[in-house]
Every structure is written in structure tokens, then in C-alpha cells.
Symmetry: C2
Subunit: 441 residues, 2 copies
């Protein structure tokens, strides 16, 4: 490509599996990516559309934003419509409108049908092409229809509908083979079937698919009519997104920043957490102010604020991450709450003990050099121990309490842990110093 051997490139793309080629895509620089797709749009739009469908939806959206709408539209017309809708859903409003306007009317209409549904709903991620049979069809007619159906996406389950296209049953391909050719599908089908509605949240779709170990989930509208299918590969994407959402929440931002990563959104979405942290910091400064006499007597106490708060923050984050993730995956549940909490607290006691002793040693050396009372060592060691134990306790129980109260622990745990660790860590350090050093002095 760098040598301009474009003919070779297109031949290569025809020979290797598109998925393999898509794997190389992120290794290209931005301008190489654009050049590649310009070339494909011109010479072989079909391969271009296929390649586009194998990119992650984020990468696809990022590419199309940088391409002109005409080139983009040629690629999008060749891209399967569920993937096209996914990619368009990731694009900013303005670029999306321009791209849809540049597409052929019928292709744009197909994709727009999916874009009607809210983001993160079943309607948005479904494939509208689904193979179904009428309940009065016979097995022989069904096999015949299937053979003629051509390239319908993954016909693993065969959905059965009535006269008005209401979903009434399901049948596996294998079941179809097991019965005599003249049996009616309606008498063989399984009527105890799982479906979701177009407005079902995509996380709920993922949960349903996981819970019942389904390879595909049928989607119905409000009237119960079959309108699409969601296959497990799309569910996998949803699960990945759900995990990303939890990552973002733990760090004090939200999935919204991932979907629409503008500076303005980042500022707006991160404000609540930063404000909480700011308020905690100001509160901590008031606590220090209250101990002004202690601070004036031993200014070097200030030097140990970072290590006391930092170590507390770290172990608090470790405990809260383990509990938040455990609650999300089901590893932590009512049956083992006590055992999990016990492990976290005992770990904190040991780690607090080790690092408390270590800081005591450092404090003893510092006190000797700076001609301070030897008790300083005890103050520092005890404060670090207490700060780490308090932090682990808050990090362990806060998510459990939030979960029990029905609040998503990923959202509120982070700010609460860091803020309360800051305030309580300062209280412990200056409280202990005042009590031990000044009380003793």
C-alpha cells in the first residue's frame, strides 16, 4: 500500500478472509485508513462494505466521519443494514444526516427504519431479515423454502408465524429434519419461546440470551409481530459495552462520554464526581485548619499527607473494584457476602500492618534526623494502618449497601470512597498527632 501497489492490494483483499484483513486495519495510520477505503469505494465497493462491517462500530464511525459523504455512502450501501445502523448510531448527528442524504434512497430508508428505535434497544441492534414459516406450512414445504431462501443471516432457529405475522413458535433446523415431510410446522413447533420487544434495553437482551443460552433472540413489535432477530455476535458486543460502561462509571464518568466523546460532554459528565471530590478536598482542608496548632508545632506532618491518603485510596479502590465487579458478575451474592467482606478486611489488616510498620520505620529515621519526638513514628504507623483499614471497610461495604438499596454501585462508589478516605485519613493523622505528640509533649 505504501508503495502504491493498489491492484495487488485489492487482489489480496479478495484472497484473505475479510476478518483477517480487518484485524490489520487498526495498525494503519489515519491517512492510510482513509486511502484504503477511498480506493475500495472506487474499485470494489462490495469488499469495502464487507470490510466496514467487520470493523468495530466505533472504528467504522471514526472512519466515516473523516471520509467525504459520497465515498462513505458508496461503502454504506454495501454494508449489511444492522451493521450500517450500528455505525451510523455512533456518528455525530450532523455527519450522520449528510451520509444518509448521500446514500441511495432505498438503502438509506432500510437503515433509517432501524435508526427510528432508541439507542441501546433491541430494535436498534436487530437484523430485520429473518427467516420465518407460516404455521400451516408442511415440513417438506419448509425445507424447500429454506433451500430457496439464499443467504438469510444464520438460520439456526426457524421462527413460526400466524396469518398476521405474529410470532407463535420456534423450531430448530434439526427438529425439522426429525419429522415426516407432510407434518404441519404448527404441530411440531415449540410454543414456549423467548422473545424480546423492539424497545427492550440491549442489556436485557444480552441477559436473556445468556440466561437461556440462546444463539439468537427473535424481536417482536408491540403487537407481537416478528420484525427481526438479534444474533449472539451482536450480544457479545453488548456485553463488551456493558463492561466498558462499568469501567467509565468506576472512574467517575459515563457511557455517554464513550458514545459521544466531545470535550463538552466530558466536562459536563465528569463534573458531579469532580465536584464531590473537590468538596471532600475542601472539607479535608478545613479539618487541617482545625488542627492548625498541631500543624504549626510539627509542620513536617504535612509531608506524610500524600502517603497516608494515597495508600488509603489505593486499597479502598482495590476493595471497591472487587466488590463492584463481583456484584456485576454474580460472584459476590448474599450467600458469600460475609466471607468476601472478611477476606477484604483481613487483607487490609495485614497490608495496613506491613505498611504501617514500614512507615513507622521511615518516621523514626525522619524524626531522628529532624530532631522530632520519637513518638512521631508511632503516629505515622498507626495513622497509615487506620487509614488503610478505614478505606478498605468503606470500599467493601459501600457498594454492598448501594446494591442492596437498588442503586448501581459502579456509579456512586468511586467518589464516595476517595472523598471519605481523604477526609477520614486527615482526621486520623492529625487526631493521632494531637493526641500522642501534643498530649504527650
Amino acid at each position: 500500500m505504501r508503495r502504491g501497489a493498489t491492484g495487488h492490494l485489492i487482489n489480496l483483499l479478495r484472497k484473505v478472509h475479510t476478518a483477517d484483513f480487518a484485524g490489520l486495519y487498526p495498525e494503519l495510520t489515519g491517512s492510510e485508513q482513509i486511502k484504503l477505503f477511498r480506493l475500495l469505494a472506487e474499485r470494489d465497493a462490495e469488499s469495502g462494505g464487507e470490510l466496514l462491517s467487520y470493523l468495530s462500530r466505533e472504528a467504522g464511525a471514526a472512519l466515516l466521519v473523516r471520509l467525504d459523504p459520497e465515498t462513505g455512502s458508496r461503502l454504506m450501501e454495501e454494508c449489511p443494514e444492522d451493521d450500517a445502523a450500528q455505525i451510523l448510531g455512533e456518528m455525530p448527528e450532523e455527519e450522520r444526516t449528510a451520509l444518509l442524504a448521500a446514500m441511495k434512497h432505498e438503502d438509506a430508508a432500510e437503515v433509517e427504519k432501524l435508526l427510528i428505535f432508541d439507542e441501546e434497544t433491541a430494535g436498534r441492534i436487530m437484523t430485520p431479515e429473518v427467516f420465518s414459516l407460516h404455521e400451516n406450512t408442511t415440513v417438506a414445504e419448509g425445507i424447500n423454502a429454506l433451500q430457496k431462501a439464499g443467504d438469510v443471516e444464520l438460520a439456526f432457529y426457524i421462527y413460526v408465524v400466524d396469518d398476521r405475522n405474529h410470532l407463535v413458535g420456534v423450531l430448530s433446523l434439526r427438529q425439522l429434519l426429525l419429522h415426516p415431510p407432510d407434518s404441519r410446522i404448527g404441530t411440531l413447533m415449540n410454543t414456549d419461546l423467548i422473545s424480546v420487544r423492539t424497545d427492550t434495553d440491549q442489556e436485557e437482551v444480552a441477559r436473556v440470551a445468556q440466561k437461556y443460552d440462546l444463539i439468537a433472540v427473535p424481536v417482536v413489535d408491540e403487537q407481537g409481530r416478528l420484525v427481526g432477530i438479534i444474533t449472539i455476535d451482536d450480544v457479545v458486543d453488548v456485553l463488551r459495552e456493558e463492561a466498558t460502561e462499568d469501567f467509565y462509571r468506576l472512574a467517575g464518568t459515563s457511557e455517554e462520554e464513550r458514545r459521544h466523546p466531545t470535550v463538552w460532554n466530558a466536562v459536563r459528565i465528569r463534573t458531579p464526581w469532580l465536584l464531590a471530590s473537590f468538596a471532600g478536598g475542601i472539607l479535608a482542608s478545613r479539618v487541617v485548619g482545625a488542627y492548625e496548632d498541631t500543624l504549626k508545632a510539627i509542620p513536617l506532618l504535612a509531608a506524610f499527607i500524600p502517603v497516608i491518603l494515597g495508600m488509603g485510596g489505593n486499597i479502598g479502590t482495590q476493595s471497591s473494584t472487587i466488590i463492584v465487579r463481583g456484584l456485576a458478575t454474580g460472584r459476590v451474592e448474599r450467600g458469600n457476602l460475609a466471607r468476601v467482606a472478611g477476606k477484604e478486611l483481613f487483607t487490609a489488616v495485614l497490608l495496613g500492618g506491613i505498611y504501617g510498620l514500614l512507615l513507622g520505620l521511615v518516621g523514626w529515621l525522619a524524626a531522628r534526623m529532624a530532631d522530632l519526638p520519637v513518638h512521631t513514628a508511632i503516629v505515622l504507623g498507626v495513622s497509615l494502618f487506620a487509614s488503610m483499614l478505614i478505606a478498605a471497610t468503606i470500599g467493601t461495604f459501600m457498594p454492598m449497601i448501594l446494591h442492596r438499596a437498588g442503586v448501581d454501585p459502579a456509579v456512586a462508589t468511586g467518589p464516595f470512597v476517595t472523598t471519605s478516605v481523604d477526609v477520614l485519613g486527615i482526621l486520623v493523622l492529625f487526631g493521632a498527632a494531637t493526641f500522642i505528640l501534643l498530649g504527650a509533649g
Copy 2:
């Protein structure tokens, strides 16, 4: 159950979908969970084994550790062997050995065959039962064999083997239907097939399944013989584990603590990060010590250490979380590095500006009340702005550099960001104070 209506309970279990019942399981208390499975093992071990297979492997392992080996073995014998192996893999060595010893010899042997393979490999998570046909079989014989095969797990693809059970091709059920009954399978099959080996890492299996949009991946041994199949529902579990691993790493611990959550492991695994953080804290205290004169002149500077370091740590974590997760999911790649970094830094400039102004205001009020020079306000505002910008810069570029160097950014980013933010934040605060306040004073 609380009323001891055990007969009703078993009837209920027979009526509702096991997956639905499994969904209620985490709501039970620990002793209720044990009571339920004791009852099932006695009255209806088959339902018990099925219910066990629907629990998460972690929940299953946690339960079996608390049950006696005899009760556990009765349930395990009725549990599908891939799920049984998964659950056993999560249990501590000792309990696992006891449980296997209590199981019927042939059932234990089946499960042990899977346990031979290393943790987190394809061999460990595969189902050894797989439907395959010899290449010389005809379509009619194949359909016949399939009809007789009974309850083979998910026959979506039909794998084709030669005389020595080497995997030579694959065929979809639909392709089987499309050809005349006397065609030989070997002439119809697709020989361009994707498989993994028993020792392939499970994350690689997930990547392969995702990349090629496969519903199932066949597993072969070193000689290329078909030995099992991994279905997409197991791949979904792997992806969830992979995300959990990243959560743990970002918090400074590892997946090993999740798999073997003993206090000793927690202490051992968390030590490197905490040690780095401790060293950073001590370094920060040396920096404060170097500015002893400044600190003695304005002791209240110490009161603002928590807010300067805390806000820096927060925004640094936000940027690094977004970059680390983006690199893991492919959202951040060479083509958009500059744009993503620009967004993070511009966000930090705005947020740093807002909170810098706010802290300046607080500092101005504090200075007026405590009779300090008004310049204190400038020192605080500038320090917070600088600390937040520095933190976001490190949080943005550190994972990118690690990723480029081939190091997993999730492992090393966390400690590096928090530690360097602590040291640099202190430097900025005391440097600015010395320069502006003492220089001006």
C-alpha cells in the same frame, strides 16, 4: 422454602425454566442455598445438577465448598461435564480432590480428562461431545445419523473427519439440506475451516470466535484430531472474565486474586502496586521536606495537599481508564490517537480551569480570614490547574506508550499515574508557593 414446603419447591422447579430458577438463587441466603441443594441432591439430583450448570461457575464453586463432598458429588454427577470441570477449576485444590474422590469413578474420569488441560485453555472449557461425520458419508446417511444422535450439544455446524479422526472440513446443517441424498459429505464440505488447539489460550478462542463471527469453534489435539467443541455461550463467559481481569489490573491486583481469593494471595499480589505507591508517597514527603522553609512560613499550604492530589488523581484515572479500555476494545487505535489525546487534554484544560478558579476563590477567602498574602489564591488556583493537566497528560500518554512497547497498559498504568501525580502535584504546589509567595514576599 422458608415454610419447609419442600414438595412444592421441587414441583415448582420442574415447572419453571431452570434458568429462571437459577436467577433467583443469588437472592437466597447462604444457608438457604445449602438447604436447597441438599434437598435436591436427596430428592431430585438430576434437577440439582441442571440447576448447578446454570449458576455462574464462581457461585457453583462457592456452593460446593460449603457442601459436604457426598452431597456435592451426587449433584456433580448430573451436571454436564464441561460445566462440572469449570466449577471444579474454581475450587481450591483440597476440596476439589475430595469431591472427585466422592464421585462415581466413570463420571470423575470424564471430568478429570478436562482438568488435565491448563486453566484458561481451550481444552479446559470445551465440551468433549461433538457431532462429526466421516468424509465418505453420504448426505442421506448424515441426516440419518443426525436424527439418531439425540441430545448432542447444539449441532449447528457438522464437522467432518477422516479415518483417523482428523478434522478435515465443516458443513452447516443448511448445506446438508441443499444437496442430493447420495452426494458424499467430503465433496460438499468447506475445507477452509477455523479451529483451535487444546492448549490455545481461552482469550485467543474468544478473539477467534468474535473475529470470524462463529457460533462454535472446533478444538483439535496436537495431531489435528477433533476432540471437542467450544460454543459461543462459553466464549461469552471468557469475555466477561477478560473484562474482570482488566478491572482487577487497573485497581492494582490481578485475575489470580479473583480465581484464588485467599487473604495470602491478596496480600502477595497487591504488594507491588502498593509498594510503588508507598515509594511515591515517601518521595513526595521528601519533596515537602525540601520545601521545609516554605511550609514553616505558610503551614496552611498543607491543608490544600488533599484537594490538589485528589483532583489530579481523579482526572488522571479518568483519562487512563478511557485510554486503557479504548485500547482493549479497539476504539482507540493508530488512526485516532491524536484526536483522542487532544480531547482528553482539552477536557483537562477546561476542568482544570474551572476548578482552579474555584479553588482560587476558596483560597482568597481563606487568605482573607487567616491574614495570609492574597497571592495564596493564585498559588492554589495555578497549582490545581497544573496538577490536573499534568495528571491527564500522564493518564493519556502512559497507556499509549506502554501499549506501543508491547506491555499490557492495564497492568502498569494505575500505579504509575497515581504515584507520579502525587510527586508532581506536591512539586507544583510547593514550587509555586515558594516562587510566588516567598519570592514576592
